[in-house]
């Protein structure tokens, strides 16, 4: 029910955007994320972008995983 998936914004027209995921394109509403820009990844929930994904934070989390793995190997 609260399912949301990351999609990339291809174009914006007014409060609507065309987004792409895995080669599939569809229209979504930007009513909840007026700050979203072309190229941003947003979390798509029932036709609405509910938040703009912070790609820098995604990188940080992945880096954290790598560091944890290295620490483990060092022990």
């Amino acid at each position: 029910m609260c399912l949301a998936v990351p999609v990339r914004i291809v174009s914006i027209e007014g409060t609507n955007a065309e987004v792409e995921i895995g080669g599939v394109r569809r229209q979504v509403s930007l009513w909840l994320t007026p700050e979203a820009r072309v190229g941003d990844y947003v979390l798509l929930h029932t036709g609405y972008a509910i938040t703009v994904i912070d790609e820098a934070e995604a990188e940080q989390t992945l880096k954290l995983f790598e560091e944890m793995a290295t620490i483990d190997e060092a022990h």
Binding site: V5, R8, T46, D54, L62
Partner: protein, 363 residues
């Protein structure tokens, strides 16, 4: 796919599991509040990979499952009114109310349509001006702003035959109600990811402060969940419960302020009925007076027969985390996804459906 595949890396997953095994010494019960997390945990076999010290319990975070029979009966009664088109998310179709389901009402001639988005319901209203279109507003804080936006959009575009039966519910108040029941001794909560994308992390702060329970907001990929469990175990082992965000790419501490403003503009907090828990103060959202024209409860006379509960169904206890689907005599026998007795077997994120599809072993 970007932002999905990286968070399913098996090698890193194994490292995280090894770390959790090293850190965990105390026997703990963790609850994944959200049904989406229950599905992810069972689908990826995470329970079997955790040390025996960690017990994972499913919580009440499935909006379809927690909708009380009385509210389902209202929706079915609305579907039977003349010149009404009911629009709903697909999960609701098969959920049995006291006497029938929306699917049965549709078979008997009611106009019930599945939509992907509440936006589709506004579009249906716009092309059917001679009918009243009612959207069944089921969901948590994730879905609430989409429904608020649809009401504002319908008003802006003069679509006056669009109405919402608001059965929206709020997560932090029911977490408090669940903890106050005191039926389960929890050490940590895997907090919902997409609810938190809207509300942020602050609304959970009362949980470590008042109940000394660790809270970590999680994403839905296997590495997200393992990181969350690791962070919870670190908090518990150090005896320093707090609220942390593991799902930082999707959740900011302040949430989505714009979406929160839309919710506040259209809705106000009200008491709501939760299956298995009962009425919880300020745990629901009702449409504000200035938008009452869109409120199906105000527009239509809804009369439904006395509420009945399915005999033997343990959905209520399962939603509170005090029983598992395996404790239910109906599970997999008379209650299966094709013929569900309770909503937890219907919803794709219901605990019973998840146990049924992903074959969770007896624990």
């Amino acid at each position: 796919m970007k932002l999905i595949d990286e968070f399913r890396d098996v090698k890193l997953g194994k490292k995280l599991i090894a770390k959790i095994h090293q850190t965990s010494t105390k026997p703990v019960k963790l609850m994944e509040f959200c049904g989406g997390h229950t599905v992810a945990i069972l689908k990826h076999g995470i329970r079997q990979l955790l040390p025996p010290t960690i017990e994972m319990l499913s919580g009440p975070g499935c909006p379809v499952c927690v909708t009380a029979n009385a509210d389902l009966d209202k929706a079915i009664a609305l579907a039977k009114l003349p010149n009404v088109i009911i629009t709903t998310f697909g999960d609701m179709m098969k959920v049995p109310g006291s006497y029938s389901s929306l699917q049965e009402a549709k078979a008997q001639g009611a106009d019930v349509r599945i939509v992907y988005s509440v936006h589709d319901a506004v579009d249906i209203a716009a092309v059917n001006p001679q009918k009243s279109v009612v959207f069944l507003g089921i969901g948590f804080e994730t879905t609430a702003p989409t429904i608020a936006a649809s009401i504002l959009e319908a008003r802006q575009n003069g679509v006056r035959n669009f109405h919402v039966l608001s059965l929206l519910k709020l997560c932090p108040p029911v977490m408090k109600a669940l903890l106050d029941l005191g039926e389960i001794e929890l050490s940590g909560i895997v907090c919902p990811g997409h609810v938190s994308a809207i509300i942020g992390s602050h609304p959970y702060e009362f949980i470590p402060e008042q109940y000394k329970i660790a809270c970590v907001i999680s994403g839905f990929e296997p590495l997200d969940i393992l990181l969350t469990v690791d962070m919870l175990i670190e908090q518990i082992e150090r005896d320093k419960p707090t609220v942390e965000i593991a799902y930082r790419r999707g959740v900011k501490p302040e949430g989505n302020i714009h979406a929160l403003k839309l919710i506040e503009q259209v809705f106000e907090a009200d008491s709501a009925n939760w299956r298995g828990i009962g009425a919880v103060t300020k745990s629901g959202l009702k449409i504000r007076k200035q938008y009452e024209h869109f409120d199906a409860e105000k527009v239509f006379p809804i009369v439904s027969a006395p509420v009945r509960e399915a005999k033997g169904c343990l959905c209520g206890e399962i939603l509170r985390g005090v029983k598992t689907p395996h404790d239910c005599k109906l599970f997999g026998q008379t209650c299966v996804p094709e013929h569900p007795v309770g909503p937890c077997m219907v919803s794709s994120e219901g605990a019973c459906a998840a146990y049924f599809h992903f074959g969770a072993s007896h624990e």
